[in-house]
């Protein structure tokens, strides 16, 4: 563990200025992931800029019926927020599916989005990992990977400098991806709005970068736009034990169903997957396949199959494909069943 300096700014702009001037520094939110990584020697910041009390801890109404979530809102508070539970049940469910009660009390909304992968080769500094030590190789491809990515990974067999099959660990981010949230970011050049689909990035040629944020940029809030039919939405997470485990596969889904009975039509649908990729994975292929079509088990299963056609699983995580197919199909059936009822 490297010695570090602790800084506390008086306002967000001051924090941005401090961190921008400290190329090896890091923001400290709830610290539920960063402090672990510091103890492991994976993260070695020389200065921590505490932003926990700088950004908002409020959830505000947006004019369109959406919500603006302050970056410092604790995960536990966000999950309990009545407007979230009412308008975006999938978001509340995703939050409650993550971590433990103690961690949710501590973890912030902004920090949750910036969690790093729990791949065991990333968290062990004695092992090769292109994300932690670019160019060192990937230990997971030939090693322990049952919990790792099947979509969007860079897999060239592990020995090259780019292979990375890490997954993004957040549950909340999967729900926000389905909801097309916008991440509000403050940087040295001022404020900008980043669609959540452009916040996280696939490993590509540079697995070391999880997001498109520049060093020093600070998440100040997350805007969730109105989606009236998200009142019928769900988050379901498959995990090894009943609580306190990362997703093997998870799904956040919402559906706008028009008509009744067997003639009901999927007017619109949102599907995002967790536990399968380096990013919260928006299932646009499946969404396109379903939009305007029937709300049947066959249609749901075919749409997921189309989405997963691009998958590149490894021996120990190939189970994620049938698991995801079943999970998404069943979740969509549950939502459409509620819509019909």
């Amino acid at each position: 563990m490297r010695e570090f300096r602790y800084e506390k700014a008086t306002d967000p702009a001051g924090a941005v200025a401090t961190l921008t001037a400290a190329p090896e520094g890091a923001y400290l939110g709830g610290g539920t992931n960063l402090v672990d990584l510091m103890r492991l020697g994976v993260a070695t910041p020389d200065v921590l800029v505490d932003v926990r009390q700088l950004t908002s801890t409020e959830v505000e109404d947006l004019p369109d019926g959406g919500l603006r979530i302050g970056a410092a809102v604790p995960n536990a508070d966000l999950a309990a927020e009545p407007r979230v539970r009412e308008r975006f049940p999938l978001l509340a469910q995703a939050l409650l599916a993550g971590a433990s009660g103690q961690l949710r009390n501590r973890a912030t909304t902004g920090g949750n989005l910036l969690q790093r992968t729990r791949c065991t080769y990333f968290t062990d500094v004695t092992m090769p990992c292109n994300k932690r030590a670019p160019g060192s190789g990937c230990g997971a491809v030939a090693g322990y990977h049952r919990n790792l990515a099947v979509l969007g990974a860079t897999n060239r067999g592990g020995d090259d400098g780019h292979t990375c099959i890490a997954t993004h660990p957040s549950d909340m981010a999967v729900a926000l991806r389905a909801l097309d949230a916008t991440v509000r970011v403050l940087g040295a050049e001022g404020e900008r709005a980043v669609p959540i689909g452009e916040l996280h990035r696939l490993p590509g040629e540079d697995p070391s970068r999880d997001t498109t944020l520049a060093h020093g940029e600070l998440i100040t809030a997350i805007d969730v736009p109105a989606l009236p039919w998200a009142t019928r939405s769900r988050y379901r997470k498959v995990r090894d034990r009943a609580s306190y485990a990362f997703a093997l596969v998870s799904v956040a889904a919402a559906m706008d169903l028009r008509g009744t009975g067997p003639d009901a039509v999927v007017a619109d649908v949102r599907i995002a997957l967790g536990g399968v990729a380096h990013v919260p994975w928006r299932a646009t292929v499946a969404e396109d396949a379903l939009r305007g079509g029937p709300a049947t088990e066959e249609a749901f299963a075919a749409a997921v199959a189309a989405e997963l056609a691009a998958a590149d699983p490894l021996p120990e995580n190939a189970f994620k494909l049938p698991m995801a197919t079943n999970l998404v199909t069943r979740t969509l059936l549950q939502i459409s069943g509620e819509a019909r009822a």
């Binding site: 004695t126 090693g143 919990n147 034990r241 306190y244 698991m323």
Partner: protein
Amino acid sequence: MTALSDRPTTHAPAVGSDVRRIDGPAKVRGRAPYAYEHELDSSPAFVAIVQSPVARGRVVSIDASAAEALPGVLAVLTHENAPRLGEVVEEIRVLQSATVQYAGEPVAAVVAETSEVARDAIGRVVVRYDSEAPDVVLSVDRDDLYAPEQLMAGFETDSVIGDVDAALAAAPVAVDVTYATPVQHNQPIEMHATVARWDGDVLRMWDANQGPHNLVPVLTSAFGITEDQLHVVSPYVGGAFGSKAFTHVHQLLAGMAARVTGRTVKLELTRQQMSSLVGHRTPTIQRLRLGAEADGTLTAISHEVVEHTSRNAEFAEQTATATRLLYAAPARRTTHRLARLDVPAPTIMRAPGETPGVYALESAMDELAVALGMDPVELRVHNEPARDPERDVPWSSRNLVACLRQGAERFGWAGRDPRPRVREVGRRLVGTGVAASTYPTRRRPSQCRIEAVPGKATVVSIDASDIGTGAWTALTQIAADALGVAMAEVDLRIGDSRLPKASGAGGSTGTTSWGPAIQAAAQALRERVHAEHGGQLPAGGVVVTGSSGPGEEVERFSMHAFGAHFAEVRVDRDTGEVRVPRMTSVFAAGRIVNATTARSQFLGGMTMGLSMALHEESVLDAVHGHFANHDLAEYHVATNADVGEMDISWLDEVDEHVNPLGAKGIGEIGIVGAAAAIGNAYWHATGRRVRDLPITPEAFFRGE
């Protein structure tokens, strides 16, 4: 103290009553110091360990200059400069040579003024290695499997009675199945920790272990000191399960670091380091062949075990030994073969031997019941042996059938539809399963000293160990009854190597070993007061000792506790997720000293069995030779949310043969067989027979 002269009459017996933990209030208030928490010195130094990422090879060079230059670093120990250890077993000869025999082996240790500086410094020690590809994969096809001379705890490696192959070939109904269990790791909540200091030539150690006396022979030999020059103190220990039974490298490193720096040093392993430095349970591959008549009478039992040990130690887990006694059959065979791999030394873990072995046997029995079309409870009852089937001696007591019957009644087993995959609740497939449990009853030599002074609490001293089991409470109960006083009048002292020598906590022998020693000392006190003081405790007090140990009952009887587990399993047909909403377990374990702490022991064991069935697996990386999932985020143990309704009960079993207390030991019987009951229920729910643990969600998708 008039009660000394009579049978205790003034107090209701404490043994058998439902007494809360006497150490509970201190623990919840943070006033029960665990090893790392002892405040001994205002400025202790801290030790951090540099571990080899190489599993097989040797250290070519170590450059510690950058670490030594860091402000606050007091010393960097390596194999080149560390104190030479006296004779100790190879697996703990730490920093004595350049050879590396497993991934994670310590190659240097930093002593620094703060733990942060120590951790920073270990990253600055530059070590170069010559390495070879590690050999860590166990299989039955290896050509280097060998038969050890004997198994742990002195069991014979093989046992053969009758012509097993002929009996199997002739059997009208037979099963031939192979089960595999993975490497598992103990995960006590308190990580291994040692505080060490040299006061002149006396080594003092505040340490997390399963019995201070366990450390004495190793530490005295390692550091070339006498027993008088060693003092190990361990009043409170936060779980162990076997991982704190032996002396491991961290205790030796702490002693070396304290000697080199002249400081009090603190060394606590990280959770990750526990994967390589304090042992694990060997993986097993177990072939079970059972032959039976059409009416279910077993004619042959064959149980062949393959497991691993390390290059630097022979740890031969006694996996098939319970198969030697659980059921009757004229032809029977058990064998154990080992492969020496480039792994850390295995160790004791939660009923070593019985846990993986009975899992396999009781799973195979379920498969046989299916093949026979026979109820699995009835199959077990039908093969109940009247005497120990291999030793040919009587049981001291055996109530497996009563456990099965009572468990079936409580669980609602009657009328069970044996067909698999025919029950659903919502999207969940539902099944039930049963398995038997057994664990040996033993006691070990232990001594106790009692100091009685009028008007004061009676001091009862014995180097017993409470690793979270409730020994503080149970031994106080036993002492109170033996002395004929109230529990408040007993001043129990345990967990200190300067107390009378006693066996460690392990093998479910604590209460059975320490309790009779306390009873013997109390009896000596009574006799002394009668013979020399006319029945009245003299003003100056009396000091007596007593001891207990195994006697002729060991030869005359086969002594075991028994139990039966029933489990309901639900499997999500979409996701493969497995949950256990309820278990019923019934035990016959002799006299139960304390109902509250006993229930906790059974519950803990059953939960570990559930955890073994569904969650626990340490994954050996075949390329690097390390345990890849070496933290609690990736090595899953059952959490509260995984444990459903646990119906726990026991029979009022009287056994006058096992020991004067009549107790059989309850620390481990709860886990034995529990995983089999769950695996059998999984088959009943899904129609899928999973023969390798754990049964994680992907098992449901295999072959689909």
